[in-house]
């Protein structure tokens, strides 16, 4: 039996029919073709499948697609566009967190990067100027086997600085880029 699921992914509304056992990450990758969300452990441990659902980072390998009915999902594919709409994209058109990962070499093999960037985005929304300790706590749920985390922590703190510098003053509206 299939179940209707309506959800918004990266600003686009989708109406699909899925089996109840379809995981959210399977819907994103296999049905919608958004393969930027990775599957590492499939056991909610590694964080490679992290997406932002209704504003909160979660592990899409441990969420049924039917549970996400009515939700708004942001995946790595939608991040730069969201930054452009908010008028905070970097000159190269990326989200400042992506740009900071590039600048600080927070990426090696890249497998953990989409989840790591989205975990960082959610962290910076609830904690805009994190200490090193807070960054490390914020990416507790994301494993990286290449970098030793140091470059990632530096990248997240650089992104925080840049986001703080580019934040519009209260009441100021920015023209879309």
């Amino acid at each position: 039996m299939k179940y209707p699921v309506a959800l918004t992914v990266n600003g686009r509304r989708h109406e699909v029919e899925v089996e109840a056992r379809t995981l959210l990450v399977q819907l994103l990758r296999d049905e919608l073709g958004l393969t930027g969300t990775h599957v590492g452990c499939e056991d909610s441990l590694c964080g490679a499948c992290t997406v932002i659902l209704d504003g909160k980072a979660l592990k899409s390998c441990t969420r049924l697609a039917v549970q996400a009915d009515g939700s708004e999902v942001l995946t790595i594919e939608g991040l730069a566009e969201e930054a452009r709409r908010a008028g905070i994209a970097s000159p190269s058109g990326l989200h400042p967190i992506q740009e900071a990962f590039w600048d600080r070499h927070g990426v090696q093999c890249g497998f953990c990067t989409p989840g790591m960037v989205l975990a960082a985005k959610e962290l910076l929304e609830r904690c805009p100027r994190p200490t090193e300790e807070e960054v490390r706590r914020g990416i507790d749920g994301n494993l990286c086997r290449c970098t030793g985390y140091q470059r990632i922590v530096e990248a997240v703190r650089l992104a925080a600085e840049r986001l703080a510098a580019s934040a519009p003053a209260p009441g100021e509206r920015r023209a879309p880029a």
Partner: protein, 323 residues
């Protein structure tokens, strides 16, 4: 994962009607879905209880706070009321796994989750809890298993991070079932394997926890966890302690250990050792010794007696230092 039917319950009455032997409730799903992926739990129907009305808020109640079962662990950790009045609970919530799991998991799910014992969670093992003939952990790889309450047929440790804090804080739990709702003290929610080797709680298959009820606040309370890894790990020993200190000495104390027994383990000996005395390094250590006095470690986990004792001692000192 085996195929199943999916239903969304809008009210507790509807949830209790839909649930049963082969129909399980899902909230955050962080425990259940991984067990389903491993074919350890294979329900015919999964009933979402995430949209039950009235179960997603932390509200003031006559005596203290009424916490809906669907309140996210992250919201519990961030709640100003919880941090101020019940720090042992806020600290326990903040210790849970990772930010993502804290956003997904709920307080009700944390209490009702199944064990994380590696023999239980892997289909290949003949585990007593899953209808097998014996407990493979008793003579097997038991470095993380029970050191207390392990004289029954199963030596699991209860996996809930929040339960020890809720026991120390004297919380109560509201349970909804087909015949209506009832309230039990949190300690009565859990059962030892010698009472029921198949389940960890007194819940019938068609009952759910709907609220956790906190009484008068315990501002001098704390939780201390000992883990192998600094992050994203299960505790190997936890202690939650709630104190009332009057005129420089301990007027009341509640001490509960986690990750050391098949249920959250209330340490009456530690409470008695503290009462009537000033809380000092010495009295905290004496209470911690009393907490583990009855420990009966298995062949690989004698070290947990030491980590449990340390957790109790540190939690007592943290609680006493809280304002």
């Amino acid at each position: 994962m085996k195929a199943f039917a999916y239903r969304v319950a809008k009210s507790e009455e509807e949830a209790c009607k839909l649930l049963g032997e082969k129909a399980v409730a899902i909230a955050g799903g962080t425990s259940l879905l991984n067990l389903m992926k491993n074919h350890v739990v294979q329900p015919d129907t999964v009933v979402s209880i995430s949209r039950l009305s009235g179960c997603d808020k932390i509200e003031p109640a006559a005596a203290g706070l009424k916490v809906g079962a669907n309140v996210r662990i992250a919201d519990l950790a961030a709640s100003a009321e919880v941090k101020k009045g019940y720090p042992a609970l806020a600290q326990a919530a903040a210790n849970v796994a990772s930010p993502q799991i804290q956003h997904m998991g709920t307080i009700g799910g944390n209490l009702c989750q199944r064990p994380s014992c590696w023999y239980f969670t892997q289909e290949a093992f003949d585990c007593l809890k899953r209808g097998g003939s014996t407990c493979p952990a008793r003579e097997g790889e038991n470095e993380f298993h029970a050191i207390l309450g392990n004289d029954g047929p199963c030596v699991m440790v209860h996996p809930s991070s929040l339960a020890p804090a809720l026991v120390a804080l004297g919380a109560r739990v509201r349970i909804a079932g087909p015949a209506g709702a009832r309230e039990v003290g949190i300690e009565e929610l859990f059962v030892l394997p010698k009472t029921n080797p198949r389940a960890e709680t007194v819940l019938a298959p068609n009952e759910i926890v709907t609220h956790v009820l906190l009484g008068a606040s315990w501002p001098q309370s704390a939780t201390y966890e000992v883990r192998q890894k600094a992050s994203n790990d299960w505790a190997i020993s936890t202690a939650s302690v709630a104190l009332k200190i009057e005129g420089g000495s301990c007027a009341d104390a509640r001490v509960c250990l986690g990750a050391v027994a098949p249920v959250p383990w209330r340490a009456a000996g530690a409470e008695a050792a503290l009462k009537g005395k000033p809380v000092t390094e010495e009295s905290a250590l004496a209470a911690a010794e009393a907490a583990v006095a009855g420990a009966t470690p298995l062949n690989q986990n004698a070290y947990k007696v030491t980590t449990a004792r340390t957790a109790v001692r540190r939690a007592i000192l943290l609680a006493a230092a809280a304002k």
